[in-house]
Each structure stands twice: as structure tokens, then as C-alpha cells.
Symmetry: C3
Subunit: 428 residues, 3 copies
């Protein structure tokens, strides 16, 4: 991996951008294979079409070859080869002539964003359709059009990727992102590339405290399938986790809570974002829209929160051809990566601490406190004294950081120094 | 009962207005009989004068015939026949001549509301007095006046009315109003007429979930008497209830809490008022002044809250001759009736709900969710999805409504539809 | 003690002002003896130099005779006899000639307060130094200076004073102040003189409910020594207490919480200050700086809060020669004394109360309620009725006072009257 993690992630996204991902099929497999080259531990798993997962059934696998709309002159007016958003996801095959009036019922455009191709899918009901810009649509003259979609439905599989990085404890941190959207950048490629970068970083951490369960799945059906196979185990082991999506632009940071809004993941996310960017946007459970819908559903209730940059549904390019590689950036991806890395690091270091002595320790004799008392001399040691004053064995490092209003990452060295000087100790 | 419930209640109030009610006596009995004609289940009960109820003793019954102040010319200056507020409630008999100076010590008027007759009582100490407008009083010339009050105290009874409407459960909702004020409209006739309208509506509801205990009593002594006879049973059965008073004008809505401020009655009242009129006035326990003083007293602590229109003590006409039939209206009474009806309906429907499956249910296959995913298509189903996301078996319908910030009455149909589609179920 | 308690305390401070107190030594003993003359029950105790108290060791005793800086002409430029702040506390002996450059490394002044001598100590590291005003320092011409400090370190003792005033209960209220600062008035003499005035007042109270443990100690090392000898007993007995410091000027009132911020001492302090001066300054645990650092340390956690006038570190004269007898005043001391007296009185009277009857008591028959009901007549009895309405056996007098938003001291007579009338009773 390159030194510049932001550029590395951006390069991955650039290479993955053209692939036509969907819920199932070749695009998903190509994407997972690409990541397997980076993370050899990534296992590519599958369930067959028709597999029952709770209330849901895995749909048939969808394959698409050529697809276009041709006018009477034989000019391709709309061509899937130029942009894979042009075809409605899971379109059924068609090869026929239609009047403009008939065709219009199968066309999708955005009058308010006239240059932009929308992203449309119809996974669970058979239909066909094309997406195009409003400007392109306005140019269509009345007459007949030849419509071709060479698509195919067949019994196949739904694929997903899974990495387990074992730690000292079998308690797990869960990271999840999705790989089912065609050529779009913030939603979704930023999600899997940041997830894989985190996975790479974690795999290099010696002495990981916790086990990491990291998955790349198709959204909704994929998380439901994964839960249907792993829920019991996950309810026992997973104590924290993050859904990773929309984490590649540099306009803002965003937080979306778990359903109960008070898990350790929520507390960590809020701490990290508050000290990363005080103006981060705080959403509520009512604003949810990704796989936390499943991970935090009643009866599931895993402790999963979401740290994002610009949230899905809240930026104008969302689910259109404008959500492209210009929207995300190495800096934007790095900001998201660092926020999640900080969140994970907090979890790894979130010890309960207590002083080794009653009353304040005598820090002067350890060279940790000014030996002369002049007006204001105590101020430099104030952060350390505040920190120690909350080491009562009942508060974690994160809780202490919140009490004294410091970023927890500014306390790691201090905590270590005080442990080394036998002033505080970790509560076992 | 007429279709127009507001007009019906107003007509009742109009017919009851002239009756000279007091703590005891003929006026109370006439009022209870009037309501018994509407609700045959209403039982008229009594306790004798001298009956001990906790710290209190039921006073003698008071009867009053003629009462007036006459000048030397034999003109009746103040005449009880013209307005029954003219005599201080529970006045002892008198028939004598007094100088203006002597008389003045027995006169009550309101200098700041010079056209208005105040309402005054002296239930537990023997005295006599007349109430008149300040303007009327200013016209009195010095000289002697003949004062006549043909009143009588005798061992008798204190009457009250009680209806028990049984439901499937013997858990009870308690409704209480009072019938001890002479000719005044918002405080008090609005209270008993709305209570009787609710009683009539409830008696027609098939499959009532809960039992309803509904009483019409004289204020304070009546509620104390009632509690002294029923407290043990009520503490076991009553889980919610409302004191019904000052509910007939149309200037505002008001809420007065129970003593603990957090009973189910309080939560329901706040929900109903918030979604009925966001500008409703919120009072505290320190502002109390009606029978909640007894129902929520230490050691009693029944879960009774109060939903009102203009609160007693807070509107200028309170306890004067200006609190007349012009102050209340069919619309005002209807607003109060509907708010209480909604509150009761919430209690009847406040089930705990949970999803029948893990993860989100697949609503598309049930025709409950759009089958095509375009930007924004999920918005129409958002309220339903939010609702389902809180059906975890630990939250009641009311709590879910508060979580998703919807009036609970907008969720009844949705809840039923989802139950019918086997998506959610009631927790038994 | 004189009638005018403020003047009395001020006179004590005036007499104690010149004494050169430090952590140990003659000044501490003179100060304790002075107070022993007022409170004969005050025991003067000691621990030897080298005594181990938790993480700390009691230092040698420090004695100082003459100390000055002399120029070549034999003029005393800086003279300890003129102001005992001139010598750095615990300075080691010196008798030698130094160039101005060498001398400067041992001089302390405050460029931003050029007329003022700072207060500096070096208890745990041997050094010597002089403090002087910046103006005085600027006048020093280059050349050699004769420096003399006739000080001595020796095995001795650390002294402290202790009074135990037994009460009916062996539950204890703890009061602590310190006696280790030389000539300064708000910090510190206001603390011990108010503490001794409280001790005198308490010793005269018959029927004290609680036992009072009152100590005068050197700050930090003294409280640590005291805790090392008494912690187990104090954790069993002490349920409330106050650290008493900076309580003699009249600029404001201040509150500093215990570490948990929710002990009974905190609740009492907030109540007293809110009703004494609504503009009192509320500090947080992060602003602490006196012996609460020890009393509330993790593992110690005694329920100690602090009521002050101008808080240490927050007023410009703090730890300088300007913190003199002009800064404090009889009125300022009285205000602090009264606030603490009120706090203690709250603790003594903080009974749990409940009504003797169900429902509201009939107060009219006891002469406690107006017998006539006119508009507004209930208002005069409103405070009493509000009070009674919270006497449910689960709330203390202080909690009731907070519920009805009245100063608790305005409820003592009312409470007594209602107990005498058998309306309420103390819960045993």
C-alpha cells in the first residue's frame, strides 16, 4: 500500500468505478476479487438464488450484455456501453420497436437536474427501463424506436466478502460496507475502499485487543442474508461496529445513530466527530437509510452506528451520474478513514483506569509536577491532574476524556506515562 | 343524543344553569336527576351529614328559600331570585335591620370588575353575606336596610353520582367532575356535561378494553368522601384517569399534571394536547386547585391528570357572574370533549407491538412498498418504516408515536394494516 | 464572642495576619494556640517529619529567623521583617554575595502587577529565593548583593487542630480549613476564622442532631495526613461536609462541587447559594484547587463541597501581598459565615415528612386556612398547601423546598406549626 493512503483509496475507486455492480452477478464478483488481491484473507462467499433469509428471498442472478435505444436511422440514442446507469437495474430482456409514447413509460429522468442520469432499480418486480438526462429526453422526436436489452435471469448466487481478523479477545468489532451500486463514487465506492484500507491497517496491527469481523455485501438483501447466517454468534460477540458508507467527499462529517442511540459505538462516534469537526451533522434514527436498518432492527439490535462524510439522500448528486470520481477526493477519503481509525483506536484503548494510591499522588517526586508553587504554576499540569482525578476504576478512558473535555487521542501518551510511573493502573 | 354533540352539551348546560347547586341539597339532587335521565346507569348515592371522611366531616345540608336586601322604601336592592350568586353559599338565616355600615361587613364585591357579582362560600364557618356588583354597592345610600335570608341547616345527606361501565379488563379508567357550583358555566357546568357526553359515548363502545369509573361529586368534600369509601379498591384497579373541569370555552387548551407528573395519564394528556394545539398551556402541580388535590394527595396518589380549556383562576370571569353561558360554546365544549375522547382512545389502543420477523419485513411482496427504487421513492413509505422500526415489543403504541413524532391517532389504521399483513403483532 | 460576629472574625484575622505560617513550624502552632483560646475543645495534634501518608512524606520542619538582601552600602533592599512574603516558603539557608545576574535567578516578581509581592513556596525541593514587587526589582542596580536567609530544617512535626462536637447521632458533618499561608487574608485567614466562628456557634447549639468533625490543617499534606489516619472512620460516618476557604471578601459567592457533583453537600450548597444570591458563580470539579482534591479523590470520595466568596485563582490579589486585610471585611466574612450556617442548619433539619391523613387535611378547623372562599382567598395559604402536598414520606424538607421553590429556612416555622397541629409528622 502506498504511503499516501488517500491517493491509494482514490486509485482503487478509479479502477472499480466502471464495473457494473448490482445485487448479484459478475460485477459483484469482479469487485470482490479486486479487493481479495489487496486483502488475501478476504473470503468470497455465496448463497444460492431462492435462499430464504428471514422474511426475504434471494433473487435470481441478473446478467446484462448490450442495451440501447436506437432510432429509425439506426443511431444509438441511449447506450448502456457509455454509462451503466442508463439501464434500470434488474431490467428484463426486451428487443422490440416502440412509439415514443410507449417508450416514455419506461424512461426515467430528473427534470430538476437536466444534465444528470438518475440511478433506478427494480429488484423484486420484473420491468424494464432506461435512465437518461432530461436534456437527452427532451431531444427525442416522435416516431418509433428500437429498444434492446440483452439481459438474463438465472438461478445463480448472491456473493459477499468476509474477513475475520482475530484479536486477543473473541469480542468483536463489526465493520460493514456494500458493493451493489454501479458507477457511483461517494455512495458507494467510498464505503468499500475505506473499509478495505481499514482492514489492511488492522491486519498490520500487532496485539489487536479485539477480533474484527469485516464484510462487503450487497445492501439490504446482503445484510439480511449475512444476519440470517450469523445473528446468534454476532449477538454474543459483537460489542461495537460501524456501517461504512458515503465517506469520500470533503464537504462535511455526519453521524447517524444506532436505533437505541446509546451504544458504545454511538458514544465513540460522537466523541470522534466532535473533536474532528465540531460542525459535524447529527442525524437521528428517523433519517436512517442503509444497512443499520437491518443491523439495528428490533430483535437484531447490534450496536452499530454510522460515521459519514455527506450523508446519502442529503447531497444533490446522490443516486445520479453526478456522484462520480469528481465528487470524492483523496483528502475526503482520508478524512473518513482517519475518523474511523480513531474510532477503532478508541475502542482498542478504552481501558478502565484507577489511581494506585488514595488521595492525589505526589507527582513532584516523580518529576511530573513543578516543584515550585507560583501563581499559575499548576496550570501546566492541570490536564494531567484532571485526568488522574477521574481514574476511579468506574470510568473508561473515553468517559474520562468526555469528563475533562479532551480528545481521547490526546490522552494515550499521558495515560501510558502515568501507568509507567505507577500512578494509575488498568482495572482488570 | 343529537348528532351535534357540542350543541347537545350546550343545551344541557343551558337547562342546568339556573339551578342553585351547593355542596349539598336540592340543587345537587336536581342536577344528578337530570343526568340520570340521560345515563340511566348513573346511580345517585349519599352519605349522611356528620359522616367522617379521613380528616373531614360532611356538613349539614343547606336549604335556602327567599333572600334579599330591602331599603326603607321596601325596594329589594339585592334579590337572590334574580341571581343565585347574590347569597354567600351556606349563609345562616337572618331577618333584621342593619345600618349601611353594619351591612357592609357582610357584602362582597369586586372593585376591579365593577359590573360583576362574585361567587363566595363559607361552608365550614357559620356566617351570612350577600354578593353584588361594585356598581350596585356604590349606589347604596346610608341608612337602614332590612336583610332577609330564609336559609336552614339540617341533618341530611351529601349526594353524588357514580357510573361503572365494565370492560374486558377490571383495570379502570377514572373520570371525575363536580356539581356543587351555582349558576356558572365554564367552572363548572362544562365539566359535568362533557363527562356525561363521554359517559354516553363510552356506554356505546362495544368491546371496551377497560372498565370506566365515572363520578359526579361536590368538589373537595365529595372527592374526599368518595376516596374514603373506595380508595383501597381504586388503588388496585385505577391505572389512569382525568379530572374534568373548565372545559367549555374556546380560548385555549390547558394541562395540569398529577403530583408525580409522570403517570400514563400525564403522558397521554401531553401527547393529545401537543398534537391538538401546540400552543396549549402547561401548568405545574403548584398551580393545582381542583380535585386532583385529593386524588393525587400523598398516600392517595392515583394517576389523575387534567385536560382543560381555560384553567380555573386564570381567566377573568372565573368565580363570578361573568362565567355564564356566553363564555362557553358548542365549539368550546366539543374541543374539550374531543381531546378527552382522544385521550381515552389512546388508552384503549395502547398496545405493545413487535415485528414478526428479524430485520425489516419485505413489504414490497405484500404491496406495501414501492417496487421501483428511484431517488425519493422511499419517502412515501417512511412513516410506515419508522413505525415498524420501533416495534420491538418494549414500546407501546403511544411511545412509538412519540418516537416518530406522529399523533397516535394517525397510526391506528397503519397499525391495523400491519397486523393484518402479519408484519407486526400485539405482545400479549 | 461579640455580638457582631463579622467584626469578631475580622479582629481575629487582624491579630493572626502578621504570623509567618508555613506547612510546619512555629507559625502554625501560634495560630492553633490562638484558636484554642477561643475553642478550648480544639486539640492540637501532630505527626513527625518523615511520616508516610499514602503517597506522601511529611517534610522536615522549617524555621526562619532573619532574611534580607543587602547592597554594598549595607542597605537592606529586601527585608523579611517588613513582609513575610518576601522569602520563598521553605527556603534553604544562605549567607553569601551574589552578582545581580546570579541573584535574579532567585527573585520572583509579577510584571503585570508591579506594586505587588507574590507568594511563592518550594516545599519539596530545596532552593532559596526572594519575592518582591516588580517596581522594587527594577530599581536594583548591577553589582554585588549580600544575601542572608537564616533558615533551618530539622526533624520536627506537622501540626493540625481537631475538634469533635458530638451530637445525638454519630453521623458526622466534616468541616475543614487550612492554616499554612503567611500574611494573606481571603486566602487563607478568612477560612479558619469562619470555621472557628462556626465551631463556636455549633458548640452552643443544644441538641445537635449530628456530630461535627472540624479540622484546621496545612493544605494538601495536612489533609492527606489527616485522611491517612482517619479515612476508614470518616467513610463510615461522614455524610456531608464543606471545605472552607476564600470566604471573606464581599464581591460574590462561589460554589465548587464535589467530584461526583451530586452529594447532599452539593445539593445543600446549591440551594443555599441560589436563595442567598442568584448570581453566585458556579464552578466545576475541573476548577478545583484546595483540599477537596484530597477529600474527593478517587478511593476517598467523601461528600465535600465548597461554598466560597471570591474563589482562589479567580481574583487578581490571589497569592500576593494585595490579599490583605483591606480585601476582606466584617460584612464579607459575615456573608460567608451565614451561608455556611444556613447550609449546616439545613442538614440539621432535613427531615423526611409525611401527612398524617389521606387527602388534604382540613386546615380550616385548625385555624390554618381562610374560612371564607372568595376569588384569590386560597393564595395566602398556597405556600402551606404546596408544602403539605409534597409531604409524602419520600421527600426531605430540602427536596420539598426545591419542589416548591422556596428557601428551606422559610419553611422551618411552617413545618413546626404543621407538626404541632398534627397535620404532618417526621418519618422515623
Amino acid at each position: 500500500m502506498e504511503n499516501n493512503i488517500g491517493q491509494t483509496m482514490y486509485n482503487w475507486a478509479t479502477e472499480l468505478f466502471p464495473i457494473n455492480r448490482s445485487l448479484t452477478g459478475k460485477g459483484v464478483r469482479e469487485t470482490l476479487s479486486y479487493f481479495q488481491n489487496i486483502i488475501p484473507e478476504l473470503e468470497i462467499k455465496s448463497v444460492p438464488s431462492g435462499y430464504k433469509a428471514f422474511d426475504w428471498t434471494v433473487p435470481e442472478e441478473w446478467a446484462i450484455g448490450d442495451a440501447y435505444i436506437e432510432n429509425k436511422e439506426g443511431e444509438k440514442i441511449v447506450d448502456f456501453k457509455l454509462n451503466n446507469l442508463h439501464v434500470v437495474g434488474y431490467s428484463e430482456p426486451v428487443n422490440d420497436w416502440f412509439s415514443l409514447e410507449e417508450l416514455n413509460e419506461h424512461l426515467y429522468s430528473l427534470p430538476e437536474q437536466p444534465d444528470t442520469i438518475p440511478y433506478v432499480t427494480s429488484y423484486y418486480k420484473k420491468r424494464w427501463g432506461f435512465c437518461l438526462s432530461e436534456n437527452q429526453r427532451q431531444k427525442l422526436e416522435s416516431g418509433d424506436y428500437h429498444v434492446v436489452i440483452n439481459s438474463e435471469f438465472k438461478d445463480g448466487v448472491l456473493n459477499y466478502g468476509e474477513v475475520i481478523l482475530p484479536g486477543k479477545s473473541n469480542k468483536e468489532v463489526f465493520l460493514s460496507s456494500y458493493i451493489c451500486h454501479p458507477s457511483m463514487a461517494n455512495n458507494e465506492l467510498s464505503g468499500p475502499v475505506v473499509t478495505i484500507a481499514l482492514c489492511d491497517w488492522l491486519s498490520k496491527q500487532k496485539d489487536r485487543e479485539f477480533t474484527y469481523r469485516i464484510v462487503l455485501i450487497p445492501e439490504t438483501i446482503g445484510s439480511i442474508v449475512y444476519l440470517s447466517k450469523n445473528l446468534d454468534e454476532m449477538k454474543q460477540k459483537v460489542f461495537a461496529g460501524f456501517n461504512i458508507t458515503c465517506i469520500g467527499d470533503d464537504r462535511c462529517y455526519s453521524y447517524l445513530p444506532s436505533r437505541t442511540e446509546n451504544t458504545i459505538s454511538d458514544i465513540v462516534a460522537l466523541h470522534v466527530l466532535k473533536h474532528t469537526d465540531p460542525d459535524f451533522r447529527r442525524y437521528s434514527w428517523l433519517d436512517r437509510g442503509s444497512d443499520e436498518r437491518q443491523y439495528c432492527a428490533p430483535g437484531v439490535d447490534l450496536p452499530i452506528a454510522t460515521i459519514m462524510r455527506s450523508k446519502y439522500g442529503e447531497y444533490p448528486e446522490y443516486h445520479t451520474s453526478d456522484d462520480n470520481l469528481d465528487l470524492i477526493s483523496p483528502d475526503g477519503l482520508t478524512g473518513g478513514f482517519e475518523a474511523l481509525k480513531k474510532a477503532i483506536t478508541v475502542l482498542e484503548n478504552n481501558n478502565f483506569l484507577r489511581t494506585t494510591v488514595n488521595c492525589e499522588p505526589q507527582l513532584g517526586k516523580r518529576g511530573l509536577y513543578p516543584t515550585i508553587s507560583v501563581k499559575g504554576s499548576a496550570n501546566e499540569a492541570r490536564k494531567m491532574m484532571n485526568f488522574i482525578s477521574y481514574c476511579d476504576g468506574n470510568l473508561s478512558l473515553l468517559e474520562i476524556a468526555n469528563k475533562i473535555n479532551e480528545p481521547v487521542w490526546d490522552l494515550y501518551d499521558l495515560s501510558e506515562k502515568l501507568i509507567k510511573n505507577d500512578v494509575i493502573e488498568v482495572v482488570k
